[in-house]
């Protein structure tokens, strides 16, 4: 993308913060140099405007109006009890907790990891595990991606996960990014790198949650490498504070016969953008990218997915659903690139949106660029309202209009929630969704 004259100064707004972080740098020289390079790149490309086709429906101007400060010092104490609403009722999971962007060993629970699984916090890893920390930036380079470059410029804390080949990790690794009242006016740039070795299997859940009604900015990047024949389930739960800004990018590269399963739930933030990118770089792999966003008020939530079919005989499946109320605005842009050699590609993309209010708005844009001739790629998008026939059917059974509407709204989301393969997550999100729309308990 050509940097626009208007956009470039926007990076200036981060200059003071960048210099402050640079002065206080406690990272090795090479990391510091990489940060500087990332900031320079950001200064060159600037932030996207709606003239940039990848950001056509989402203006980041409201975000850039703020001057967010980096959090350098650790913030006030958080009790384990405050995490309970976000743990899916699971007790056996491996948990890494970040409070306002900083790793909290006291709140984390990484003591029961099986052999062959390494999980380290990035701030420590710069010096104690440079082999792992050095992976940062290898998948997500930030080239021409302003927010990934911004993350790289401020990169400090985060998590590096390494699952050795043939290791099956039955319990998920849950990474909780918790914002407290101390996050007000601040920004965090968490970075994760997840590598799953050949034939291994793991589940990573990222939760972005808040215990305070604060205005802050989360700009997260997760890099993923899925080895040959490996499977990674990668769920992202975005339930940030209502006034918060959130940009989250997952960028994956997949080896032969691997399966990458992504799920994005987004219900929080005033303005959010989630990018889910994967490259099928080996034959016979598959990518499943699903998501659900539920918005109200004046929320704006944008999802961009990009699946690159770089090799033959791979499949991709996408199902995104949005439920929009109030004056909310949803965006879904699904890109699929099929390289000339990627014959026998089997791709299917579906985007469905339910509008609960006449003032809600959705923009969906499938974008298929196919350069191979023997492929099967389909896409479909629907935007609708509550089904009147079903509504009457329920009312004819004595169910009041409002209850029936809510139950049908929940039902709209049910099939995408059913794709969740972690029972605790599925059950919790089903309950959250049902309660959101019905106020009824979900027993039975």
């Amino acid at each position: 993308m050509t940097p626009s004259a208007v956009a470039a100064p926007a990076a200036e707004g981060f200059l003071a913060a960048f210099e402050a972080v640079e002065r206080g740098a406690s990272v090795p020289g090479q990391v510091s140099a990489n940060r500087r390079a990332a900031f320079d790149h950001l200064s060159t490309i600037g932030f996207p405007t709606t003239k940039n086709e990848d950001w056509h429906y989402t203006s980041v101007a409201p975000l850039l109006e703020h001057t967010f400060a980096p959090i350098t010092a650790r913030t006030g104490p958080v009790g384990r009890a405050q995490l309970v609403p976000f743990t899916f009722g699971a007790t056996s999971w491996h948990t890494a907790v970040f409070v306002n962007g900083r790793f909290s060993p006291e709140l984390s629970d990484l003591g029961r990891l099986p052999r062959g699984v390494r999980v380290v916090d990035l701030a420590g890893a710069w010096t104690t595990a440079p082999d792992l920390a050095g992976r940062v930036g290898t998948v997500a380079t930030g080239r021409d991606q302003a927010f990934t470059a911004l993350n790289a410029a401020f990169v400090y804390d985060g998590l590096v996960v390494d699952v050795a080949q043939d290791v099956h990790l039955p319990d998920p690794i849950h990474v909780i990014f918790l914002a407290t009242a101390d996050a007000a006016g601040a920004m965090t740039h968490p970075r994760m790198h997840v590598a799953v070795g050949a034939r291994a299997r793991a589940t990573i859940i990222e939760s972005y949650v808040s215990v305070a009604d604060a205005c802050y900015f989360t700009n997260a990047v997760t890099e993923v490498s899925v080895g040959e024949g490996a499977t990674l389930l990668h769920y992202k739960i975005q339930r940030e504070a209502e006034r918060a800004f959130h940009v989250g990018t997952s960028e994956a590269v997949q080896a032969r016969d691997s399966h990458y399963v992504s799920f994005s739930l987004a219900t929080g933030s005033a303005l959010s953008r989630t990018n889910v990118y994967t490259t099928l770089a080996g034959e016979g792999g598959g990518a499943t990218l699903n998501g659900l966003y539920m918005l109200d008020g004046t929320q704006h939530c944008d999802h961009q997915t990009r699946i690159v079919h770089a090799q033959p005989n791979c499949f991709s499946r996408e199902l995104y659903k949005g439920i929009l109320d109030g004056r909310s605005h949803g965006v879904f842009n699904g890109k699929v690139y099929v390289h000339p050699i990627a014959q026998k590609t089997d791709g299917k993309q579906t985007s469905k949106t339910l509008l609960l209010s006449e003032h809600a708005r959705v923009d969906t844009k499938p974008q298929l660029e196919i350069f191979a001739d023997d492929v099967k790629c389909t896409h479909g998008a629907t935007v609708g309202q509550i089904d009147r026939t079903a509504l009457f059917y329920m009312k004819s059974r004595g169910i009041a209009t409002e209850t029936a509407r809510r139950l049908l709204t929940y039902a709209f989301a049910a099939d995408v929630l059913e794709t969740l393969d972690v029972p605790e997550v599925r059950t919790t999100l089903e309950r959250v969704t049902l309660e959101r729309f019905t106020g009824m308990d979900a027993t039975l």
Partner: protein
């Protein structure tokens, strides 16, 4: 006071008039069959009684249990004891049958000033009701009608009816698409729910169903009007002769009088 009293009911869907002045009275304890050829307005009548907003009532009155039925919302009608077994039960993927039934059952209990039941109490009730329609409990965990066979859907309608215990059940072509075994099961369910204090209106194209659900009265609907009322023997006569001997006269007098209403009232009074 009759349970249901329909007077001069007219209704349209879009610009098309479907019901041209229906008169019908049903008392508690009675089973009325409404028969007629395709397009005669049988299903429209059923839908209008249940309050489907897709139809516009343009004239006439319906009193149900002393109340002005047409002024009531569909859910209020259901809560007051009206149940429509749909000809085409609606699929609702994502809502489990059990959840749906319990929600409906509790709405009904609330409307009747009774306590709501919890899932455990409800499960006990379901065990018993499932037997009535010969359904497996696994049906409860499936989404409402989603992926059900035609027979399963119809059974599911009768199951809902058994759970909601209506005062006035309207069965809209419940026999269509059923094989003889499924028909028996469905009819058996309906018969077991039959009591002196409730009534049924059975809408059907074929006489066959009436071998299993024996009506007290039979009405023939042609071109949106009841053209003939009688006892069960009328149904047998229709089986024998078809509808042609009745349709000719009716379509020719679309704007004519209401001889049928008089005949029907006499039949009920008899």
């Amino acid at each position: 006071m009759p349970l249901l009293e329909i007077r001069g009911l007219t209704a349209t869907v879009g610009d098309t008039q479907i019901l041209n002045g229906i008169d019908l009275t049903a008392d508690a304890g009675e089973v009325h069959a409404i028969m007629g050829p395709n397009g005669s307005g049988k299903s429209t009548l059923a839908q209008v009684l249940a309050g489907n907003p897709a139809y516009d009532v343009t004239g006439g009155s319906v009193r149900y249990d002393g109340k002005d039925l047409l002024a009531m919302q569909p859910e209020e009608r259901a809560q007051a004891g009206i149940f429509l077994a749909f000809q085409y039960p609606v699929e609702i993927p994502g809502v489990s049958n059990a959840y749906f039934l319990r929600a409906a059952y509790n709405e009904m209990r609330k409307a009747r000033g009774m306590e709501e039941v919890d899932p455990l109490e409800f499960a006990d009730l379901m065990d018993e009701r499932l037997r009535l329609v010969d359904m497996d409990a696994s049906m409860l965990t499936r989404s409402v009608n989603a992926g059900f066979s035609g027979g399963e859907k119809k059974r599911n309608e009768i199951l809902q009816m058994a759970v909601l215990d209506p005062k006035l059940a309207i069965l809209d072509e419940t026999d269509s698409g059923l094989d003889i075994d499924a028909l028996r099961v469905v009819a058996n369910g309906v018969n077991q729910l039959r009591r002196p204090d409730n009534a049924s209106i059975v809408v059907t194209h074929y006489q066959r169903l009436l071998n299993y659900i024996v009506p007290d009265f039979v009405h023939v609907l042609v071109a949106g009007r009841i053209v003939r009322s009688g006892t069960r023997s009328l149904a047998l006569e229709l089986e024998d002769k078809g509808y042609d001997w009745l349709t000719g006269g009716a379509s020719g007098s679309a704007s004519g009088g209401s001889f049928a209403a008089a005949g029907q009232s006499a039949a009920i009074g008899a």
